[in-house]
């Protein structure tokens, strides 16, 4: 019996702290003997209860600090446990003399209680139970305990009691503590009725009159087991509207159906919120709307778990709760809410001004467009976040005909350009052709980059040229603009020798008409003669503008920009020189710089149509073109002689190679064959 008395105290204190909904760890050992000591020196057991235990000393007191669900005052639990509050002084107004008396007898109290209420006062003189409301709308709970009631079955007992409060008798959380039946009531009138019938009801088949102790209490601590979980599921199912995927959990703590089952399941208790969250996850994961209004929530900690378990919620109603700080919303940040109702929470009064209110909400839920039922202007951040840089695409040639022309031009042009002698390029240029070069270091490279000094003397970069004045600058720029094909080609010949990486080429044809063709080629090259261990890899962009000429095109404008390749480009450059996928607009196999310094008297491969051997080469199927290029590399002969050698041997590569070696051994290969 001592046990039950202690449990009472424990329950009281614990429940008080529970109303914060934060200390989940404290409930588990409930009713365990080993936990009892912890609360033995607790100062606030029920005064009224103790009063009765004293034998007739009961006097109803207004139970200030307890009994009211959600009352912050209950939070002083730990403090009281450490004795900061005078012992046995739960109610400030208690006469001093009584305190002393009770204090002396406190440890006898449980035993007194075991004596079936001792010498309780007469029912007729009992004052009514108090109805304490420290918060409007909060509810007072009454705990009813009936010693030795276990001898009677539950149904009989409840029927007997219910007869005295027809219609309103809703015992919550009926259970036994030892031999004692315990349940809770939330209706003051019913509680008074119960008190009134103590010792007046006789159990059937005995002359034993029931003693009914009724005391104000903190709310019952919810008990979740499989059976109750199933009942909760049924209730939630009834509150779910599948057509709008919305679950309405308004005032779950006073759900009639649950009350009929004798259950009190407040959402502000984490254990209940967790159960609710799990049921949602397992049964209605598609949930988009959730109404949690009027659930006496001081904190959203208990709701926090639902965010993960019901990730699709976009509409949330938290109105008519006890939320005091807008920061509580941080706990729900994972939800992409578009609608939120916060009305009638203390936090609404603490934020001054609609703008601040909206921005405080939007800070947590940027997508909210409806707040407290009112439409908000669309969020400003929305537009910006949708703008993206389109993914780059490959070369753009307008059509296949233009592609063929441009690719052929570039192939021929860079074959010559990468050789020792660039003079033959003169055939590619218009008489009045213009060339200029502009150089800049790559601004995207943070580390030191290779010097571009070799080019600076002829760089026409307008942003870098500093003349003495505008006229001087004009003169410099005029000098740096190469006019006429002779000037152009002689300028090109002074530039460092190069090897271009054809695989890096990206070509865009930006203008094509009957009178003009303009295209830009971007890519990478290395400087063949550079003495450095690792020759620098340059990046370039070159715009050719050309006009039609007899059967081909002549370049009128050649505008070249050179910078340094990015580290990533440097790593990727010259990696694939074999047969390439069609990705490269220009055929692979960068020409190996010729070793012959002999000026070229032979017909030069040229983009112009008059060079018929070149045309012959270009009309070959790709496979044979590849053979010619490979043969060029191995034999060191120019493409035309390589072509002839292969042609003479019926495109048998090995046979042609053997014939070349034989002729070379006999000294029968003409010098022109090596001219490039």
């Amino acid at each position: 019996m001592q046990r039950s008395a202690n449990e009472f105290a424990i329950t009281t204190g614990r429940d008080g702290s529970r109303s914060f909904g934060d200390h989940d760890d404290r409930w588990a050992p409930r009713g365990r003997g080993n936990n009892r000591r912890k609360f033995n020196n607790k100062s606030w057991s029920r005064g009224s209860y103790r009063g009765r235990g004293q034998g007739g000393g009961y006097k109803n007191q207004a139970g200030g600090p307890v009994d009211t669900e959600g009352d912050v005052m209950m939070g002083g639990d730990a403090e009281h446990a450490h004795g900061s509050q005078p012992r046995f002084n739960p109610y400030g107004g208690r006469p001093k003399s009584r305190r002393g008396k009770r204090g002396d007898q406190y440890h006898r109290y449980p035993r007194d209680n075991s004596q079936r209420g001792g010498a309780g006062g007469k029912p007729s003189t009992r004052p009514l139970l108090p109805s304490s409301h420290s918060h409007p709308g909060s509810k007072t709970w009454y705990k009813v305990s009936i010693p030795h009631a276990k001898e009677t079955d539950k149904a009989t007992l409840l029927t007997l009691l219910g007869n005295h409060a027809p219609g309103n008798f809703r015992p919550i959380q009926f259970g036994y503590k030892g031999e004692m039946a315990v349940f809770y009531l939330d209706d003051r009138d019913v509680a008074n009725l119960m008190r009134g019938v103590s010792r007046r009801i006789t159990l059937p088949g005995s002359n034993f009159k029931l003693i009914i102790n009724v005391n104000m209490s903190s709310p019952p601590f919810p008990v979740m087991n499989e059976e109750n979980l199933d009942k909760l599921k049924v209730v939630m199912s009834a509150r779910y509207d599948p057509s709008i995927k919305t679950l309405d959990l308004t005032s779950l703590y006073e759900d009639r159906a649950l009350q009929q089952e004798g259950l009190y399941l407040p959402l502000n208790r984490p254990v209940i919120a967790t159960c609710v969250a799990k049921i949602i996850q397992q049964n209605i994961p598609e949930l988009v709307g959730l109404n949690l209004s009027s659930n006496r929530m001081l904190s959203l900690s208990s709701v926090q778990e639902m965010v993960q378990r019901a990730p699709n919620v976009v509409s949330l109603d938290l109105s008519k709760n006890q939320l005091r700080a807008v920061e509580e919303l941080d706990k729900l940040k994972g939800w992409q809410l578009t609608e939120l109702v916060l009305d009638k929470n203390p936090l609404c009064d603490r934020i001054h001004g609609q703008t601040e209110y909206v921005s405080a909400v939007r800070k947590r839920f940027p997508k909210v467009v409806k707040l407290d039922g009112k439409e908000l202007p669309p969020p400003i951040t929305f537009d910006v976040s949708t703008a993206v840089v389109p993914v780059s695409q490959g070369s753009y040639f307008v059509n296949a005909e233009v592609q063929e022309l441009v690719v052929r031009f570039l192939k021929e042009y860079y074959t010559i350009y990468d050789c020792d002698n660039r003079q033959p390029l003169i055939d590619a240029y218009h008489d009045n052709a213009i060339f200029s070069l502009s150089v800049a270091s790559n601004p995207a490279i943070e580390n030191k980059q290779p010097s571009l000094a070799d080019y600076l003397s002829i760089s026409r970069n307008d942003l870098r040229i500093r003349g003495r004045d505008e006229r001087d600058k004009g003169r410099i720029k005029d000098r740096l603009l190469k006019k006429g094909k002779l000037q152009v080609v002689s300028e090109l010949s002074t530039l460092p020798r190069t090897t271009h990486d054809a695989n890096s080429f990206v070509v865009d044809v930006n203008l094509v008409s009957s009178t003009v063709l303009s295209f830009v080629v971007n890519g990478l090259f290395k400087e063949s003669d550079n003495k450095a261990d690792k020759p620098p890899i340059r990046a370039f962009s070159r715009c050719f503008t050309a006009v039609p000429a007899a059967g081909g095109v002549l370049v009128t404008n050649d505008c070249l920009t050179i910078t340094n390749a990015s580290p990533q480009q440097q790593r990727a450059a010259f990696k694939s020189t074999g047969p390439t996928p069609s990705s490269s607009p220009v055929s692979s196999n960068p020409p190996v710089p010729g070793t012959s310094a002999v000026p070229s008297p032979v017909p030069v491969p040229s983009p112009l149509p008059e060079s018929s051997p070149q045309q012959q080469l270009d009309s070959l199927p790709p496979q044979r073109q590849q053979m010619v290029l490979a043969f060029c590399q191995e034999s060191n002969m120019n493409p035309i002689y390589s072509f002839r050698c292969l042609e003479d041997n019926a495109w048998d590569y090995v046979k042609a190679g053997q014939m070349f070696l034989n002729l070379q051994a006999e000294g029968k290969v003409p010098p022109e064959a090596f001219a490039k």
Binding site: D462, S504, V506, N510, T515, V547, Q569
Partner: protein, 142 residues
């Protein structure tokens, strides 16, 4: 070889002045008032933006407006006059730029841009606009 046309020096000077004025204006509009860039383009202008071809002024403006906001800083600028035979008597220049661009929420990167500008009644318009990221120009085959 035929000597360069006598007036070429003047044309080149004009091209340089146009290019300088144009590039100042263009990147100011591109970065800060892209909505108003429309009138810099010829009605039948072409844009090739990292391989995507867009034709016509309205389509180009729509395309550019959908790009994220940008910050551009040029490192290089060059220009050349184009021979008149290519553009049926209109004064035409090639403008070539290179620099650094930062699109919102993207890393800073280098880019090349080549314009062909044409003058009609002393008003310069973009006939062709070619834009390529430096990085994308390496092995960015289709």
């Amino acid at each position: 070889m035929a000597p360069p046309e006598p007036e070429l020096k003047d044309k080149a000077e004009q091209a340089d002045q146009a290019a300088k004025a144009f590039s100042d204006l263009y990147y100011e509009y591109f970065d800060k008032k892209r909505h108003a860039i429309k009138n810099l383009y010829h009605d039948s202008a072409n844009l090739i933006w990292n391989g995507r071809a867009v034709s016509g002024k309205d389509a180009i403006v729509k395309f550019l407006e959908e790009l994220p906001t940008s910050y551009t800083n040029l490192s290089s600028l060059d220009s050349q006059p184009v021979t008149e035979s290519a553009f049926e008597g209109q004064t035409t220049v090639v403008v070539s730029t290179f620099g650094l661009v930062k699109y919102q929420d993207n890393k800073t990167q280098s880019f090349y841009q080549t314009f062909i500008l044409s003058s009609q009644a002393n008003v310069w318009k973009i006939v062709s606009d070619n834009y390529r990221f430096l990085e994308a120009s390496s092995g960015a085959g289709t």
